[in-house]
Symmetry: none
Subunit: 464 residues, 2 copies
């Protein structure tokens, strides 16, 4: 262990990986040194220029890495006494590792599910937030109604009707803090058996499992979930009809009809997860199943894909008979969704800024999609990409036995992306389809191009 | 199922638990009967005296329980036709009742727990939100780190140290969407037995119960919870040391020391609910217990009292050994707390606006408190008000047998306020202290004066 040295700062021996962001790698190496005890609490760090010279880095890179660790609480910085290791720097690092890339972790982020953070419409949102704050009635600053702000429920009823073919009134809308929050509420009021798609987000599977729901996976093909032979037991059916997640099929009209028929005949409820329904590239957006049978479908949406997962807002459009139960599950007061964000979003939708943002992002994501398809066509013309008519990810099917070696090679090349089999429901009959789930929305342009180069190189190499 | 009987009212067979508040138990049994369908929509309830005789209860108890269910929308009451089960009973109405006064709902709102919504610092907050949005790094618009924004954790570490004597670093802070969210997280990582104060918020008791926690109520007196003979079984101790909720005592230094001693000796954890610690009127704020033993205390705070419950933000300051567990309970991404609100709050604290707001509100609430005390001194000089050195509510002790008639008269006079016994833990040994819990922060000035007039009139009338 390096002893604290109040004079020149600790003598640091750090090994950085050869590739990737220098600042990220240095920050991670410093975190590891603190975590392992090599850098003890109170130790004074070497001045930027010393460490920069030692490691062959720009001085700014070192300054940035130090600042990052100060921000995270690993280091403390005081005027005149330089930067030091915090006295109790703590095991808090686990999450740091989960959220920030580690030296061995990927630098080309193609993980699905993230919209482009750089496209967040800062000034339009700021204008909406300012107007909403000025116009808000006094009671908006008191305890929140668990249904959500009336301003937002009105704006959503209009928008969802117009843009997604949802048939509803503000009274049937309950605001929540995102789809996961909505799913937890629904699981608590619709316990026991749910039919689910054989492919889906593991996080959602866990939420249902934690709520004691038994899941009955339905087969999924290129036309979405096979809903024409629904099992009799479940009374709740979770679907992603606009863009099956993550395999990408659009639910066939006949299967939509079959699902609605099932709900009508059995008194069942369809939960429609419309996670990226706004981003359709081949034609007009596919309308919501909810429009066919508002009394049998819960329509669920959120801002997580369309605007930003940083604003924790989602919505459930409920059949009349579920409103009271869901509100009872929420409790007497709103515990989650920020009233200020709700008011800002109401203005943002009502003034047309939301529509403009969706249009802009649809164009951008479509270009990204085209760029991905062009690279795949050149480097892997025999592999099939599905789900490409919509959304912000594609599924690339791989021959049996190729998913694991491809993912291994991808990781070695600094690519972060998931295998398709990771989305296969744990109780669905094997085999899981092998492939890659490629998110194409989040990276900046140049980084995206580099990521695609790395991806096509990996695919070529695995096939050789 | 009992058939509707438009004549004499339904014949009701209810089983009440042997212990706890009769009114609460009856109200719950009635809700259950409606929910289960045993009491169908439109059913006429038996007259108070009939049900009271059947169940061996005071007639007022039945009247109060009926009134409660009418307020919540389960029942309807019409002049001349008695009380009936609502046609579409339920929490839908509860929400309405909770947020907007209905014709039958109270007009003088003295319910505790609500800061003044009209004092929300709109322009200062708008300025912070605008600056924060402009300065935010791009990644702030991506999926959220479950620890919370680093900008906010830095600002909170500074503020809590300075204002509340909390000893921490940003790395030990986990942002949540309010105290309830934090309590749920803590209950999931500290299951089984908790020692709790014999008086507290029923909502918090329910959260612990739903998480499977067994609560061991500790006696409470004017010096807070009696912590010098702590039971051995619980490993977690939930306290409101700065201002016992709602009875108002400040935890004695010797009892603080005893609690810390217990935690050190047993490896136990104290959860410090510092819900209104900023609003101290008799001297400087009482520092947090956390400062005595950061490794044994979870300090929990939120904006709900100090700024507004409409911004869903709270924070847990955790001992090192709990950070990873709480983060694991939160999950990989932030599901609740809005990143935009977090960034705005970080700026709001850092620029001094939060301190200014707290100072302004402390002055305002202190004037309100003085106004309440003056009215009580004139109208009920023999009654004792406690908890008046801090916060935004007072507890007014009543002689045995007077709480129910006072609350009944208060309701008739259009006053909304709670009885002290409603805050008595259901498993704490009876009798519950009788009294009123009077919130004095939320009403506009003129309405507050009118509410106090109505209150003193009620107190005078009941005593005659």
């Amino acid at each position: 262990m390096t002893a604290p040295d109040p004079g020149a700062g600790a003598d640091l021996h750090l090994e950085l990986p050869a590739e990737g962001s220098r600042r990220t790698a240095l920050a991670q190496a410093l975190r590891d040194a603190v975590r392992s005890g090599r850098l003890a609490g109170g130790t004074r760090l070497p001045p930027y220029r010393t460490l920069a010279a030692d490691l062959g880095l720009a001085r700014n890179t070192v300054a940035d890495a130090y600042a990052e660790l100060v921000a995270e609480g690993w280091f403390t910085a005081r005027q005149g006494s330089g930067t030091r290791v915090a006295e109790h720097p703590a095991p808090r690092a686990t999450r740091a590792a989960a959220s920030a890339p580690t030296p061995s972790a990927p630098v080309h982020d193609l993980l699905q599910g993230k919209p482009d953070p750089a496209s967040f419409p800062r000034s339009a949102w700021a204008a909406s937030a300012r107007r909403a704050l000025a116009a808000a009635p006094t009671e908006a600053f008191g305890p929140g109604d668990p249904r959500g702000r009336p301003e937002l429920r009105r704006a959503l009823a209009d928008y969802l009707s117009r843009a997604r073919g949802v048939r509803t009134t503000p009274a049937n809308i309950v605001v929540c803090s995102g789809f996961a929050n909505g799913l937890r509420l629904l699981a608590s009021v619709r316990p026991r058996d749910w039919a689910v798609e054989a492919y889906g987000l593991p996080f959602h599977h866990s939420i249902l499992e934690a709520a004691g729901v038994r899941a009955h996976p339905l087969p999924v093909d290129e036309d979405g979930a096979v809903t024409d032979r629904l099992p009799t037991r479940p009374r709740t059916l979770l679907l992603t009809p606009a863009h099956q997640f993550p395999t990408g099929g659009r639910l066939l009209p006949a299967r939509r009809a079959a699902a609605v028929e099932w709900a009508r005949g059995t008194g069942g409820v369809i939960v429609e997860d419309d996670y990226d329904g706004e981003f359709r590239y081949d034609r007009k957006p596919v309308g919501a199943v909810q429009g066919l049978a508002p009394e049998h479908v819960v329509y669920a949406g959120s801002l997580s894909k369309s605007l930003s997962p940083a604003i924790r807002l989602g919505w459930l459009v409920l059949p009349d008979h579920l409103i009271d139960q869901v509100l009872a599950a929420k409790g007497l007061r709103e515990s989650w969704a920020s009233a200020l964000d709700q008011l800002a979003l109401a203005d943002f939708i009502a003034c047309g800024a939301y529509d403009r943002h969706v249009r802009r992002m649809r164009k951008r994501y479509r270009q990204r999609r085209d760029q991905l398809l062009a690279v795949l066509a050149a480097s892997a013309p025999h592999l099939r990409a599905t789900g490409i008519s919509a959304g912000m990810h594609a599924a690339l099917t791989l021959p049996p036995g190729q998913e694991v070696p491809t993912l291994t090679a991808a990781r070695a090349a600094g690519l972060a992306l998931d295998g398709l089999s990771a989305y296969h429901h744990p109780t669905a009959p094997p085999p899981a389809q092998e492939g890659l789930v490629i998110g194409y929305a989040a990276l900046p342009d140049a980084a995206f191009t580099r990521a695609l180069d790395a991806l096509s190189e990996v695919i070529r190499r695995v096939e050789e």
